[in-house]
Amino acid sequence: MEVFANLWMGFGVAISLQNLFYAFIGVLLGTLIGVLPGIGPVATIAMLLPITFNLNPLSALIMLAGIYYGAQYGGSTTAILVNIPGESSSVVTCLDGYQMARQGRAGPALAVAALGSFFAGCVATLIIAVAAPPLAEVALKFGPSEYFSLMVFGLIAATVLAHGSLIKAIAMVVWGLLFGIIGTDVNSGVLRFTFDIPELSDGIGFVIVAMGMFGATEIIMNLEQKEKREIFTSKVTNLWPTKDDFRSAWPAVLRGTALGSCLGILPGGGALLSSFGAYTVEKKLSSHPERFGKGAIEGVAGPESANNAGAQTSFIPMLTLGIPGNAVMALMIGALMIQGIAPGPQVMNEKPQLFWGLIASMWIGNLMLVVLNLPLIGMWVKLLTVPYRYLFPSILVFMAIGVYSLSNNPFDVLIMAIFGVLGYICSKLECEPAPMILGFILGPLMEENLRRAMLLSRGDPTVFFTKPISAAFMVASLILLVVVALPAIRKKREEAFAEETK
């Protein structure tokens, strides 16, 4: 098989001492910045870019890629321990991971997240090796109308994400959509809801909103309880997942990996969407959906596998088409161009060592991450014994630094604080932040693609139903709507949530 011969050659290159060293530096740095809330791979890679000028292209790429997927591992740690999404992709991990930590099961949550990510990383690496070029063609098949229909489907499925009242979930989604509208309209260039504040003209950053709604809110909530502030550590039962944990986690890992690998290929938030998608899928398939949001291990395993698989497969459009699916990929393209390599369809043929070496290094990097992360679990869990009077101020400081570093703008820190307060009010009203966050991500994308699709079709709305992929999503959405609206099922859904609201 040619693929295996190529992979073999890739391993031959990637296993050199120098490349192993840079892979290790990359994943180590990535884990660290992943753990620190807000400080993301984009800022880190940008700062390290000049260092790569003097490296050979492969070592440079290996290190930068290591930072990227290392951050995916590290991000889940903060999400699980203190309910702050260390990276945008770990927002969903907060939902159940943190609840597990509250029950003294931070260890199993961390272990499942790491092992799930490792498995997903391995599978996704293999997918890139075997099928990168044909999959890139799939990415090309997704035009504005397909994206729009996918997002309609995602948004409808999102109402399933929430627990509690359906009305509140819809209200939160709409609220998220409205927040997403802030900024410059892509088509006309008109500023919307910016109140002449130039900082708002590019909209509000997703990381800022997520850190405010989850992190800052959590800190306020905890401070409110003067007497019985939670101490999770007294209840730590075991560091390792039990057999039962493994049994319920592995199907979720498989499904998450599959979903993440598919959505990661799509440029524009694919990896992010995949973690939300995986959570919805797990909740839908579970025989006990009421456990979700209260520490279900599938709710950690699915999304964590999905976001890592998605992160890995998002290299496909970059490597095969030269099209960056997200900001990190844009930076990698920048790094390659400096080296005199223009990423595009010909890289695979002209620089096979670079292409296959990078793929092999991804697998090596994932292995390093598991080896690095599993022994650290004990240490992370110990972090929870730090008294709150030290822990909270330091978390807040790190959050502020992280948010500031996104665009060197103090205004963003203020926005995070505002969303912290909003999140607190929402939690008092028993409104879930997750549907809002999803509406916030999907809203602008949906509008952009809807209007672009209409421009391209010269105002003919039937395109959403005449293109096969788009039509499939529309039909699926319709079925989902009917299912939600059917009285019998609605009753069942309410029963499932009845216990929670008590």
Partner: protein, 314 residues
């Protein structure tokens, strides 16, 4: 009286300030997010510059409002040569006509130190478009009025304005489809959902070389050394450019020294090669005065283009 005293004082103080410049690290503000070509070239330039100046040159990304936030921050910062900005065609030629309540004067609030990068745009078409030359493209567009679409990275971008200019000069009709950045636009061009695009040479070149899209012409007044086979378009003289600028009152001696060092840096073979990899030929604009004249000329060109296109960001 008072004014002349201040002038005398300034004259006495400024040379001293220039003599011990740079006294601390220099911040080079990039008014865009990390990873784009402006950011990458700033980081390339920072390396030889800090060797030459003996102080670290730190690249600060201050994105927002099409680059206006970062440029505005530098316009209003201390004019001591320690805060500089990578001012670009958007922040200093297009945006002033695009935005209402524009916060700074692109000519008078800055000293234009050195033009660093100048990249031609290319007219590329999807392979299914039955045209191998600009003339054939015009004929195709005239035969199918309003049926074809051209993509751009955003409303008011060079790609958009070039498309509008093309429509006017050739009397053709196409729909403009704006995207958020040029990456998704290129994707739809590759897939054939849009038919043509005015893309910058660096990002278009890999797909041109791989035969995934067809290049028809460059937008510059003369042919480019990267793609000498491509003709120019009658009436077009558009490039994408950016360069180092300082706040208006920066001491003359500092501007001179900086201009000299930047010029020397971008002519170093390894730096030159890295900038060429981004599609940039070493700019012909060589002095601060020439750069200011260049910015004034560009400002005029684009204010007319923006007006004719009807684009607005407000």
């Amino acid at each position: 009286m008072r004014r002349s005293f201040l002038a005398a004082l300034a004259a006495a103080v400024l040379p001293a300030a220039a003599a011990d410049w740079p006294a601390r690290p220099i911040h080079l503000v990039v008014p865009y997010a990390p990873g784009g070509p402006v950011d990458v070239s700033a980081r390339v330039l920072a390396v030889p510059l800090q060797t030459a100046l003996g102080q670290p040159v730190v690249v600060d990304n201050k994105p927002g409002a099409g680059g206006n936030i970062g440029a505005d921050a530098v316009a209003k910062s201390a004019a001591d040569g320690h805060t500089l900005v990578m001012g670009a065609i958007a922040t200093h030629a297009i945006n002033p006509s695009l935005y209402r309540n524009f916060p700074y004067d692109p000519v008078r609030d800055f000293r234009h130190v050195a033009l660093v990068v100048q990249v031609p745009n290319v007219l590329v078409a999807n392979n299914d478009v039955p045209a191998r030359s600009v003339a054939e493209l015009v004929a195709f567009l005239k035969a199918n009025p309003g049926k074809a679409a051209f993509a751009s990275g955003s409303t008011g971008s060079t790609g958009h304005l070039a498309g509008e200019l093309f429509k006017q000069l050739t009397g053709t009709d196409m729909v403009h489809v704006p995207y958020k950045g040029s990456a998704p636009a290129v994707l739809d061009l590759l897939a054939g959902r849009v038919q043509i695009m005015f893309d910058n040479l660096a990002s278009a070149l890999p797909n041109i070389r791989a035969g995934k899209v067809r290049a028809l012409a460059v937008t510059t007044a003369t042919r480019s050394s990267f793609v000498p086979e491509l003709p120019t378009i009658e009436g077009f003289d558009l490039t994408t450019w950016w360069g180092v600028m300082a706040p208006a009152k920066t001491p003359e001696a500092v501007v001179e020294r900086l201009a000299r060092e930047i010029r020397a840096a971008i002519e170093q073979p390894d730096v030159k090669e890295k900038l060429r990899a981004m599609g940039s030929e070493t700019p012909g604009v060589r002095s601060p005065a020439a750069f200011t004249a260049f910015v004034e000329k560009e400002l005029k060109t684009y204010s007319a283009l923006v007006k004719r296109s009807g684009a607005t960001a407000d």
